[in-house]
């Protein structure tokens, strides 16, 4: 007994003990700008509601969102602590959503805070809330996953793999881009579709058809740490092809005589080569890949060699144009080297990079970019000729 | 204050612990060096507890090597 008391005095004075039950497990963090101050929103899990043991049939919501404003992020956090019953615990943050206004203005402070705090890990995704504030995004309830942040995290992870126009960016990726002179960062945008007020309600989940939901949309272009604009969907796709970030993707090819044809891209690789004519750098980009035909909704006979060649040509042209669109808008509209062409030149021609380094932004504007695509059609599913062409 | 008392208790324990050992050693130097070093250690820690500024040996190193680093090393490389 004496020993027990001794142990208790030993442990009660302990400095870093955090009992699990006192922990407010934060899964998402939303940061916004409110006037001159920071607005911080955290999505905290109510474990009892989620865990299978207690059935999750309670009346409480599975997550709670706390929100406060402060001059610094830390101050806002401190205020949250006074309203939330538990300690805010940040090691399990899955996503950090940054409001568009804040992203346009003071991203670097956010990054400093996040990378300085030891509780943050580096494996969460950073997302920009497009056309809205971060806290509205955090308040959206989702149907399939109890924890909305998990839903956001997982669907971004999936969509990056399966669908081309998003890019999952972790803290390290972002910092690497910011520190490299030859590359500018991008972040994926997220948007709330539907009614903002209803989104936070339980009803939203209970209805079979969600009236309000979250959707990933395109990429936000940064110059240094400031958001300067958005790529369109096509440009985002082109961007991903250019930085070799496409694992699998679906594409649509217009048939020569009208109608569409679905392609499933299975293997792509992008090679970036830089060369110099005199002092003028040129980027040569070569995209190679293979695809399968998924769906034929036009009258083309895909058993014919000629037609396949034609389709390949159309497809290649389409991807090329996607890429060029992305390059164009980066060069003309944003003047921000989001593709890391500067990095490529640095790696391949370190000597010649030196004079370019300090005024790379201007140089990038006039950089000559050549895109060649060599995509091949390999297979076309379990049937040979299309039923459609038979019927016609 | 409590810290100082705790420290003194700890050093008393150390003395008690070493005493039996030192008793066997008939060398006077052993006892003296133990006592002197323990005294120095105690004094330093008590001074540290009351925030008395102490000498930092790294300052000496900085003093010697800063000119070398800046004038020699930085120029050579």
């Amino acid at each position: 007994m004496l020993l027990m008391i001794l142990m208790l005095t030993f442990t009660s004075g302990c400095w870093d003990v955090r009992e699990l039950s006192d922990l407010g497990i934060t899964v998402a963090l939303g940061l916004d700008k409110k006037g001159d101050e920071f607005n911080v929103a955290v999505q905290v899990v109510n474990p009892g509601e989620i865990s299978r043991i207690s059935g999750g049939a309670g009346t409480k919501k599975p997550v709670t969102v706390y929100e406060e404003t402060g001059e610094t992020i830390t101050e806002a956090f401190r205020k949250i602590l006074t309203t939330s019953p538990n300690n805010i615990y940040l090691s399990h943050v899955r996503v950090v959503v940054i409001g568009e206004e804040l992203a346009k203005d003071r991203m670097k402070y956010v990054l400093d805070f996040i990378s300085r705090n030891h509780e943050f890990r580096t494996d969460f995704f950073l997302i920009v809330a497009k056309d809205s504030t971060a806290d509205t995004i955090l308040k959206v309830m989702t149907a399939t996953e109890n924890v909305p942040a998990n839903k956001i995290y997982e669907s971004l992870e999936k969509s990056e793999e399966l669908y081309a126009p998003t890019k999952a960016v972790t803290l390290d990726d972002l910092k690497m881009d910011l520190l490299n002179k030859g590359k500018q960062p991008v972040l994926t945008g997220i948007r709330l579709i539907g009614d903002e007020d209803r989104a936070a309600s339980e009803e939203n989940v209970k209805n079979l058809k969600n009236t309000s939901k979250l959707k990933y949309e395109n990429l936000a272009v940064f110059k240094k740490d400031r958001l300067i604009g958005w790529l369109s969907e096509d440009e985002s796709k082109g961007y991903n092809y250019l930085i070799n970030n496409v694992v699998r993707a679906n594409g649509v090819v217009t048939c020569p005589d009208g109608g569409k044809l679905g392609m499933n891209l299975i293997k792509t690789k992008t090679k970036l080569q830089s060369e110099f004519t005199g002092d003028q750098p040129i980027m040569n980009i070569e995209i190679t890949g293979e695809g399968n035909i998924d769906e034929v909704s036009c009258g083309i006979d895909i058993t014919k060699q000629d037609n396949i060649a034609k389709l390949e040509q159309i497809w290649n042209q389409r991807i090329t144009s996607l890429c060029l669109k992305a390059v164009d808008s980066a060069q003309e509209e944003f003047q921000s080297d989001i593709f890391g062409f500067g990095e490529v030149i640095h790696r391949q021609h370190p000597r010649k990079w030196k004079p370019l380094k300090d005024h790379w932004d201007e140089e990038f504007k006039d950089l000559e970019v050549k895109v060649t695509t060599k995509l091949k059609i390999r297979r076309f599913g379990t049937i040979t000729d299309s039923i459609v062409s038979e019927l016609e | 204050m409590w810290k100082v008392i705790g420290l003194l208790l700890v050093s008393a324990a150390i003395v008690q612990f070493e005493y039996s050992h030192l008793k066997k050693i008939r060398n006077r130097m052993d006892r003296w060096s133990f006592a002197v070093l323990l005294g120095v250690g105690l004094m330093l820690s008590i001074m540290k507890m009351y925030d008395v500024p102490l000498f930092n040996p790294l300052q000496a190193i900085e003093f010697i090597y800063k000119p070398i680093y800046e004038n020699v090393f930085n120029r050579v490389l």
Binding site: L179, N180 | D30, S33, L38, G41, K48, I64, K66, F73
Partner: protein
Amino acid sequence: MLEKGRISVAQFTILIFLVTTGDSILVLPSSVAGEAKNDAWLSGIFALGIGLLLVLLFYQVSKLFPDLTFVEYSDRIFGSFLGKVLAGFFLLYPFLSVALLLRELGDFLTTQILPHTPIEAITILFMVFVIYGTRLGLETWVRAGQVFLPFFLLLVVLFFAFLAPQFHLDNIKPILGEGVKPMLRGSLTFIAFPFMETLIVLIMIFPYVKIKKQIELRNAMLIAQTAGGTLLILMMLTALLVFGGELVAHQQYPSYSLAKKINIGKFLERIEAIIAILWLITIFIKATFYFYSSTLGLAQLLRLQDYRPLTFPLGIIAIVLSIEVSPSITYYNEVISKYWPLFDFTMSLIFIPLILVFGLFYLKNN
């Protein structure tokens, strides 16, 4: 004889390997990459070469008096007064290093793992066990290092294997893009921290190795330094391949951040605390090595019959010193990455040759 234990050549090798890896495995990548950016691994290779050359120098010193430690023979070669002064000066080196190591460990733990625990509590706990190891004698704590070695190697292998999927070869290109200068600047710390800091204090251990021929010492040192150096170069390379030079330079503890990146199939993740074991093992051995050398040396200097009574008083002083040495982490980082290596250089390129010259002179005349 103050120390009756003897260690085998294999144990000696393991000791040097662990000490070489020491704290370097945790802090070195950052300071080297700060100068050399993505060529930091080349600094490592260069530094390893220099380190091996240094081994030859130290081997000559070890041949002077095969049965005595430096403190024991210093008054023979320098005369009784100057000898004592120089020996005392030399002992400051390992002792100060103990304090610095304690500080480093405390800083690491308070920033990364135990932010609310007072640094004194961490260092005192650590010091108590260093003292325990020291009191048990050379043979015992070196044997403990031997026992740790398999765990250490296992963790290292796992560490590299788990991170391999995240290697991006592009991150270390271009090779020598900025010329040789940054690479050489980076190698300043890479020579000093792992290689010099180990070798300098070895002159207190040489006589306690069981050898048949003196040359075994040289071979052991060469093998251990090569192994330790290679491990550090690999660590450097891994950090660069995963993060790129810029990001490594910006981190306080790059290899800890590396461990945070480990994620194998969403199952093996969040294991950085386990990886931290790796550094604690080597730092523990390095700290014990320094502390042991300084207490034994002091006892020999004062001609005591036992060094054990000195351990607690010196431990207390080391803890006070560890708190005193740096008012802030910025100061610490600056002194440690800029000026301390020069101190290492002074010790091993001026002090040690001095011993060698005087020693040879003495042996010739007697």
